[in-house]
Amino acid sequence: MTDGSSLERNLGFIEAMTLGGGTMIGAGIFILPGLAAEGAGPASSVSFGIAGFVALLAALSLAELATGMPIAGGSYHYVNRALGGLFGSIVGWGMWTGLMFASAFYMIGFGQYIVVPLPFLDGRALIVLIGLVGLAAITGLNYYGTDESSGAQNLMIGAELIVVLAYVAVGVFFIEPGNLAEFAPTGPVGIVATTGTVFVTYLGFEIIATVAGEIEDPGRLIPLTMVLSVVSVTILYVVIMLVSTGVVPYQQLGSSFVPVSDVAAITMGGAIGVAAVTVAAAVAAISSSNSSILAASRVIYAMGRDGLMSDRLNVTHDRFATPHRAIIATGGVTGLLVLAGLQVAEIVALLAQVASFSFLVTYALVHVALVVFRRVDPEPYDPEFKIPGVLYPAVPILGVVMAGVVISQMQPEVIVVGIGIVALGVVWYGGYARSRTVEDGLLGEAVRIAFEPGGIAFETVGGLFGQAEPSDATADAQPYRVVVPVANPTTQRRLLRLAAATARAHADDGEPELVAVHVTEARPSPDRNVESDRLDEQRDLLTVARGVAAEIGIDLDTRSAIADDPGEVILEVIRETDAEQVVLGWQGVTDGDDDGEVFGSTLDSVIERAPCDVALVEFEQEMIGEPVALVDAGPHAATVAQRAVDFATVDGETATLLTVQRSTDDADPVREGRRMIEWVANRANLDSDEYETEVVVSGDLSAAIIDAVTGYDTVCVGLSERSDAERLEFGSTARRVSRDAPGNVAVVRGRELLEPDGPDRGLADVTAADDVT
């Protein structure tokens, strides 16, 4: 007995809070007060309040999405799912670069806190150098991998929190009201502009969403920890700004590299306070930078999963099991950003603002994604946490507006760099990712299937952003559609090639088009990760399907759904697309499997009820090669002959129509056989040059059939020799061929049954063959 494999959710409340809240309090608290005071004076506390509010809006939307789809990747994943690969690429790159900028920001802050208090050290070069050393240490640590480091992380954040709380508690008594008299020296514009700088600190709660796939009890803990961490951190920052600007005049604070140390020098007993703050700041910078690198590698992983990033970057280390390339890439670029500190004087503020920019864009798109998910309400999306009715759609709308307002007040160079990052995402999508993703397939289609043509919102989105399939738009004449359910990665390529061949053979009847369908069987599972895993599999299959279609050069539409009964979905797709054929893969006859299902419940219902031709293909070999149609007087004979001729085009062969006749005394069996083949070919509208004829005469029909088809690569055989529509019957000839023939076997059922008025003989003969076992 094998119970398969699963993933573990190991992150509890404390871990999630330390990841999220820890990163937020993190380094920002020690560096930002200076920048904030410079930008808005004591009113910078208001800036933190605004930033916190923007973050809270994003946290609400993110929490709903994250509980609906708790898998790795965070914002990136939701945007990619809702708005497609273009926006997925923008957000993915935005998050990655944002995290790198934030990490560089933390490390320069780290350098400042180490260098400045030591009187014999000075200079920007040293700050940068120490930042780089710290960064190298973190990158190295992550390269080798850490195990249950959350213990150490918790300890570090706990110590840091104690210092911060002491700073606030003691500092309150040292506030000089005079310092706060000029509360908002830069006015509202300065306050909003400062919001753009300090927003960097709110990257932390995103990290909770990024690791959503690893959080226990995600429905409860994700919203709780996100909202709680944002609210508590905001309150803490507001108080810290009031204390800091209350103790030291904002002008002085603003010009300091180590604002918190300056305040601590006054409030916390001079050198002792400075030492405590220095240690806490260093620890905070390290842990925040560490969290950013962890989150970055998960974003890269999630992008790779969706085909938006090269798999080579996502290779895990053989020994350390870490995504070492992603970590090195993140560390490397972060290092370059830290190095930029040598040239750029205001590097800290710029890094912070660019990181903020990236995440403001990300969150704005997250709000849009939420609206799309709500409008479309796809079946697999069933969040345990929903933004309460009164707040929706106010939260997402306000979220987008606020992000726009904050961005609008940023420095021009930041906006330029930020737009550059967005452009990078767009260019990347256009140049690299577009051909590799299935972004326009999944959700929209799943929605259309599950909710009939009511997927209005989605079609609008698709149309707006130009992701609608061209074949949908230009479908003047009804295309000749062949539905191909894909489930098995090893045979789906051959299946698609066959389907393409048969669709093309009917090009006269309409533009050939394939519809690849993948249905994930809905199995209720408490382990949502497994669920997401299967969605990955679905994506993989459809990605490959697209690749194959592009190779062959045929239009391909993809449909996917999660459903209890895959057969129903396939039937629904056939009906909806008005398909001419369905071509299914099949494992073949399994002996002694007698559970009332002939082919398996899914296949049974499709075969029984599909309003089109059905071909059930069992692959035994790579080549489709030379096909043979077993022609008899059965109801599907014409369709069987037709399919064999279609399939012959795959490898440019000619199909053979073969019949086996019993040797008799009173008639010429060969002539009878030829007569029947001609009759069937006629019914199938085949020209005589499209096929070859072979008549085998034998006393032992059943053995002769197997012998006769053995030389062919692919055997097409009718589903049942009896014209019996109400009862599904897998004819014994078909069964035997499937079991004994060495080549591929296609069991064919025609939409229209051949009237059994055929050439007077033959029918009895073939029926007789049924009795042979």
Binding site: S5, E8, N10, A72, G145, S297, T316, A321, D533
Partner: protein, 234 residues
């Protein structure tokens, strides 16, 4: 109360290494149903799904190879996890396991050492011991450490436990009992355990220090370096 038959034992196996685990232990008793938990440790840096995508086949194969060496039906499960201990706990819960087998470097399996703490969890412990004793060459030593004034209770605990094993059809000759008077049962157990091949210990409610430093039963297994069946609390 008669001893139930057929304990279920969870065997955590690291499936990330190519090193084959020792399989002697797994064949120690046919009466025990084994749940092979192949865990794949995932560093903080990677989401479990990423390693699962890369290594699932290897992990499944290694576990299947291990399962194939055991001559009967076992349950197999592969898990990708950041936290081995938590996963072991959860899997033990899920499969309703009576005990967890912690590996040791010692390979012989004949002499089983069973420190008993008291009536707590005694049924499960004795059930497992009885299962292990189904193999003829195995002997068990029931042990209890007590203070001087509670020797009487200790002796009756041991006699009673031995009696129940006999009732379950075990030859009394293969059951030894030992009562020790000491104030430090932990050390006594660790010292004595070296004389045996295999331990069966009951899980204890972890105290605060245990939570930080690891469970007592785990620590005994670590220090003793003998394989141990840690019998879970019901």
């Amino acid at each position: 109360m008669p001893l139930g038959d057929g304990s279920t034992v969870l065997v955590p196996v690291d499936v990330s290494t190519t090193e084959a685990p020792d399989t002697d232990l797994l064949t120690v008793s046919d009466a025990v149903h084994l749940v092979l938990l192949g865990y794949y440790p995932v560093p903080d840096q990677a989401p479990p799904a990423q390693l699962k995508a890369d290594h699932e086949d290897d992990a499944q194969r290694r576990l299947a190879e291990l399962a194939a060496t055991i001559d009967r039906d076992v349950t197999q499960r592969v898990v990708f996890t950041h936290d081995r201990d938590e996963t072991v706990d959860r899997a033990a819960e899920e499969y309703d396991c009576d005990a967890i087998l912690l590996p040791g470097s010692h390979t012989a399996t004949e002499r089983v050492f069973v420190p008993l703490r008291g009536d707590d969890n005694l049924d499960r412990i004795l059930s497992l011991v009885a299962d292990l004793l189904r193999r003829e060459e195995t002997t068990a030593t029931l042990f209890h450490a007590t203070t001087a004034d509670e020797r009487e209770y200790g002796q009756s605990l041991l006699d009673d436990a031995a009696g129940r094993l006999v009732e379950a059809g075990i030859d009394r000759a293969r059951i030894n009992t030992r009562l020790a008077t000491t104030n430090d049962p932990g050390t006594a157990i660790v010292e004595l355990a070296h004389e045996f091949d295999l331990l069966v210990v009951g899980e204890t409610e972890p105290s605060l220090t245990d939570r930080i430093l690891g469970r007592v039963s785990t620590r005994i297994a670590d220090e003793v370096d003998r394989p141990a069946f840690v019998v879970r609390k019901p």
